[in-house]
Symmetry: D2
Subunit: 256 residues, 4 copies
Amino acid sequence: MYKKDNPVTHLCTSDVDSITIRGKDLCNDLMGHMNFTDFIVFHFLGKEPSTLQRTVVDTVLVCIMEHGMTPSAIASRVTYLGAPESLQGAVAAGLLGAGTRFVGTADQAAALLKRIVALPMSERKDEAKRIAKEHHESNQFLPGYGHPIHINGDPRVKRLDEVIRDAGANGKYLDAMYLLGDAIKEISGKNIVINVNAAIGAALLEADIPPEIARGFNIIARCAGLVGHIYEEQSEPAGYKIWKVADEAVPYQQAD
Amino acid sequence: MYKKDNPVTHLCTSDVDSITIRGKDLCNDLMGHMNFTDFIVFHFLGKEPSTLQRTVVDTVLVCIMEHGMTPSAIASRVTYLGAPESLQGAVAAGLLGAGTRFVGTADQAAALLKRIVALPMSERKDEAKRIAKEHHESNQFLPGYGHPIHINGDPRVKRLDEVIRDAGANGKYLDAMYLLGDAIKEISGKNIVINVNAAIGAALLEADIPPEIARGFNIIARCAGLVGHIYEEQSEPAGYKIWKVADEAVPYQQAD
Amino acid sequence: MYKKDNPVTHLCTSDVDSITIRGKDLCNDLMGHMNFTDFIVFHFLGKEPSTLQRTVVDTVLVCIMEHGMTPSAIASRVTYLGAPESLQGAVAAGLLGAGTRFVGTADQAAALLKRIVALPMSERKDEAKRIAKEHHESNQFLPGYGHPIHINGDPRVKRLDEVIRDAGANGKYLDAMYLLGDAIKEISGKNIVINVNAAIGAALLEADIPPEIARGFNIIARCAGLVGHIYEEQSEPAGYKIWKVADEAVPYQQAD
Amino acid sequence: MYKKDNPVTHLCTSDVDSITIRGKDLCNDLMGHMNFTDFIVFHFLGKEPSTLQRTVVDTVLVCIMEHGMTPSAIASRVTYLGAPESLQGAVAAGLLGAGTRFVGTADQAAALLKRIVALPMSERKDEAKRIAKEHHESNQFLPGYGHPIHINGDPRVKRLDEVIRDAGANGKYLDAMYLLGDAIKEISGKNIVINVNAAIGAALLEADIPPEIARGFNIIARCAGLVGHIYEEQSEPAGYKIWKVADEAVPYQQAD
């Protein structure tokens, strides 16, 4: 369903003297009272985060904001090279690569963890094996599992676990994440590690934040990271060098 | 200068077991220790913000994140209507409108405020008049001044002033902002109010944050706001309705 | 497979005195010798189009370039309102809505038509019914069929058929398109008309052009249409009006 | 002026049985009657091109569509690597780099050529020198002049000249282009060659096409070229390799 005859918005309205966001006065109730993280959660969900929710969102945003010279950073930097008049264009170009291949699997991982936790404790291990088996047999990636570089385990997983248990997380979704991790190693016979997306899915569930928003957090964090790349590009431009090495790395060859 | 033979990056590197961001270990030093706002500042500037800097950045981000059904929100929503497979595309479409006409004047406003504060107190009023006159005579907008809706004064200006003085701002750039506001009213003879961009420029200067980054904060805040619009679009889709009313509002007329 | 250790490109190389595209000298062999349509086909496929191919590509590009105040045109126009410094950003914003919901079904339609034509003439009608039934039973849209406005039949379908048969098309894929159209009406019991995407899929197949490129033609044609919208916006700006009616059409309502 | 109370569109309208574009019936008058180039001109200007106009537009579009592994092509390819679900996103990312630095100077070059041709023949050489001097003294690039690779002269310039004179161009703007080229070499004392953008500006003026649309043609041609890059990327993926060499080429270095 993508049509609605008379849609409304719950987000914002304004008049000559004020701006109202989800029922609160922006100037008097929000500015100076909420930090950016809390305001993002308030904007999405309509209420201020609990302590656990704040910790989860802050830690998730921090852990996915920056990963070095990623495809997104490359796209932003070479775009800025050609169009320095448009910071927004350079950032937008980088965001466009935040698609299905490398990001945005946290929500799918969360759906699997929910399947496990929906069952009594005694049946969870079997359910994890069932899920691992389904994916193995249909030759599909298990969302949130596997990493090309961090082959001893994605270091962000353990740390995210620590931080959110310290902030009061019950841990049942994190436990399910490990059950599924053991199952996929056993069934595939391969060293498939838990990656940060499974941990993000678990963390959101622990804090009762709809994992459907996971990709949104990813986009916001990336956006901030890309602004930092363009800011660096202004004093230490790498776009031209990237152009030159890319051009050399992909030689022309006449087709037959 | 946009070419550098051997550029480096100071932002991030990683190996099999760790991710390092500006000399700190992401997992051990940053996750769980910094919130998102602090991490953004750390990523941009290489050091954690002072209390004043944190307050300025949080308040700036909160005050520009959401303004209702703006051109950016419209672009995101109608884009999502046609391409629901790509959240990143819908957000990117909205960001592309964050250009020179409605946003991104804070850095230019800041440059004018610096001109005023560079002089001894006794000469600032005259400098403000000089700036106002230059713009008036060359028929140019004064960046950070004028608002089509908030004609009694942009309510965010006064509030931003309050919040950052409470957090320890000295106030000299804010004072220059008012001097310039008085001058432009006097010289133009029009009700040209101070808008939020002048206040953002002043606030960044008060906190010793390079105002050249102002547009970057704008992009980050907008990005978060647009994610919220798409999240709302998923349950309360407005894109189709916007299409229909836009189509009716701009009728076809055969050219002569 | 998305990794290749040593990829090459067959498209283009240049040196100080010349530019070579797919083995031809741009200046001497291509400029002045090929028109834009032929050059697009040459760039994609590595050989100049036959007469039938040229007719198919030209007619397809012409028939999908412009459809009035579409979501894409709206996104481009409101983006240009905010960022008039960036023509490329306004066009890019419009292209981002050319996604899975309204465009890009021609390649999927083509795949179904191929299933039908792969069989002997006597079995094609049954295969069409089988396909219609599969989609009906699984409650899926049949790609290339159904139109919200052109309920008496999409006028471009009949015309595309005419033009390409005149140019020498054999017609077997077009015939399969009608078989499938009859089948889906019969099986669904609804007035589901053939839309332009099925006809585009058939047309490309008739001309031996890989239908996988269908979405590419769509993007190119749209891009040209959107440039025309922005060109009109420069003398007859509609972006501001669209903003205003969209804002009114989606009122604020406080959530419970 | 960016607001209009009651804007209209001259481009397109449709009803249940037909689509009308600038007063013509899409199916009966345009499909099968115009090729893509003619339709683009008709869409922009409201009338079919003359023979000279057709030649100019075709040759311009052909000469700027493809230049190898440009920043735009790099951005498109690495974006497709991360988001293969969105062809439109990959193309849009590449278009975003078609900004002020490397493209879009044809319209500015055209404005200078008009200044020269506005004078009687006997004064044109002096005017060319005046323009060259102005730019030299204010240390500004002369739009349409200078090329980093084609230092013996951009080969497309001579060829574009040939093709359009053959098609009936009078040649006065082309001649002005050479006058300005001689002047800039003399006054700067440097080997600053005429590049393709000056020739495009001259060509459009020769054919009485508003040079303000020059950037639009650039965007359309690039769009077609980028679709070709993505089509190649599907069978011969280079995005991953580009990522790897870019990452190596810009090493991490801790800031002081």
